[in-house]
Symmetry: C2
Subunit: 351 residues, 2 copies
């Protein structure tokens, strides 16, 4: 076992908080009009597997690609066993503003646990969380965040953690969208996942988010099996526990599945390069580069957040989900960009 | 990235060598008659999915279990998405004597690379390998083994490593059985894997062996997709490499997938408890305990090496593949034991 006192354990959360701090909590570069309503959903037309996509170039390119590589007569045919697709999660399959939803979960857990810890009312970093004082929370730095992760994500069995996420995901609502977080998923991307699966692509999530945080709900919500969900991991230990074995989550990072970590995780968990990969930020750039180096014909897709009315508009200057280097490299390499405002008829399901 | 100088990196290989050393290279507790021939294969009878199994209790129990849990009318019915099966590899799907075949690969790599390293003729630990002097090799200890892993398993791209294993697996032969290593797989277990897959179980390998060593051949040989093969991992790093990205294997352990590591790896890679699990040694005991704690009806199987004529006979005292605690616990808990001598009509395919 690796040591438990790995202080790198909080990179993920810390980076979020530091980025928010850097932006002075002003959400610089992000546009949102939370009062806006979505258009009614469009009826699924017969034979259209991507009904929530406008009939623009990106949709046409996706369909042309899938038809080409699944056609046994095509020189670009890809055998079923090599049809690997990898999707980022935050900002690609569901929303991520004003910060990653997993951080809301962590803060909500602190609040839920507070009645059993009356001392938290006067003890940082918990005091800051209970008072919704993000400025003070940031001042608590790495050590403070470590304590928040420790109580919200570790020191419990994997079963207990799953139950904890399960309760949260079915009840917690987004502060400005006023919807359940699990409703803030992108209908066009759900259709894309299904369309690829129907064409015998094996679809994986490869996300910087916590692997068991996602697995607690994403199998049902996205239709992607748990073992095809890859993310950041905490260390864990097995205990026989007198015949009732448990695996306990430890407050130390095992793997940070972001940036250069994504191709490494793909190699570790999947063992094959993707032929189709989708992301939305610079954290996905290396994953898309990895897919782009596939010997098979491949497809790289960036979701571009351009819709300040229905979702949020942000890219180069956003503290969360920065798309800067990836915007330049993707344009230069002719990768596909799904412009949410222009290319998507609806954003969220069921409107 | 984690540090590269992780001296724990060689646990797997080291443990093999230490075990061999402990047994004084005398293969204590192992019986083999390498001159013996196998019986001719039995024709597949119609409707019999396990034709290489004798019609004994273990076969009947496997079939009764699968029929029960796949029957929608049964109280023990298991939904398809939860039909997870995990198989050990060394000693469970293929042979492992006189030591793990991956160690033969490592030693063969040293020999193959020797013409480019003339200095190895007089430099330990390579000298010992080139002279087939296992006694001397053991004296080189951890540092010596580190060098052998470094040249055979690391310091190269994942593509180069895969090609290297691919060449070896299609040509290298076992020293006493005189067959390709890839032919020393267990026909009855191949049938069992296929039978479970046909009943919509998702079958994974969960092995102490190297994950990319296995993936280089096991997808084709066993019919198990690469992403469903879990094993020990070395650390790795991504490099953009001027637009031709590579992942390089580093000479440091990332995860040792043995004993307590197996349930932890199952949680990390699969995220669900198995309902069916098969192993052959004490290294698999925790995996079987984990499966046995499943809320669904579950099945634990130990392959018991009892056939000194057709394969090898060993358990409690074998330096490789020790089955001691697991023998007691499995018997006490009524787990299934496949007695190779009594329960298997044939051992290896194509005889």
């Amino acid at each position: 076992m690796k040591k438990v006192n790995n202080t790198a354990g909080l990179k993920l959360f810390l980076s979020v908080v530091l980025l928010i701090a850097a932006a002075g909590c002003k959400k610089e570069g992000i546009k949102e009009d939370s009062t806006a309503k979505e258009k009614a959903p469009t009826a699924v037309s017969s034979g259209d597997h991507l009904p929530s996509w406008n009939d623009t170039k990106v949709k046409q390119d996706i369909i042309a690609y899938v038809k080409d590589v699944t056609n046994t007569e095509s020189p670009n045919f890809i055998p079923v066993k090599d049809r690997i697709a990898t999707f980022d999660n935050d900002g690609t399959l569901w929303a991520e503003q004003p910060f990653y939803f997993q951080l809301f979960f962590a803060l909500d857990q602190v609040k839920a646990l507070a009645p059993k810890h009356l001392e938290w009312k006067s003890k940082q970093p918990f005091k800051a969380v209970l008072e919704n004082n993000m400025g003070e929370l940031m001042k608590q730095g790495k050590a403070g965040l470590m304590q928040i992760v420790a109580v919200s994500h570790a020191g419990m069995s994997t079963d207990e953690f799953e139950a904890s996420v399960g309760r949260w995901i079915s009840t917690a609502k987004h502060p400005t969208k006023k919807k359940l977080y699990r409703e803030l998923i992108y209908q066009p991307m759900l259709e894309l996942v299904k369309y690829l699966q129907d064409n015998q692509f094996k679809v994986f999530i490869v996300s910087g988010g916590g692997i068991d945080f996602m697995r607690a709900w994403a199998e049902d919500v996205y239709g992607i099996p748990k073992d095809q969900i890859v993310g950041s991991t905490l260390q864990a230990k097995y205990d026989y526990n007198n015949g009732k074995p448990v695996i306990t989550k430890l407050p130390a990072l095992d793997f940070n599945d972001d940036k250069e970590g994504k191709p490494v995780a793909i190699e570790k968990y999947i063992g094959k390069k993707p032929v189709f990969s989708a992301g939305n930020s610079d954290g996905d750039l290396q994953m898309l580069q990895w897919a782009a180096s596939n010997k098979y014909k491949n497809f790289e897709l960036y979701v571009h957040h351009t819709d300040s009315i229905r979702e949020w508009a942000y890219d180069r200057k956003s503290p969360v989900g920065t798309l800067d280097k990836g915007l330049d490299e993707g344009k230069a390499k002719n990768w596909a960009f799904a412009d949410m405002k222009k290319d998507w008829k609806v954003i969220f399901p069921g409107n």
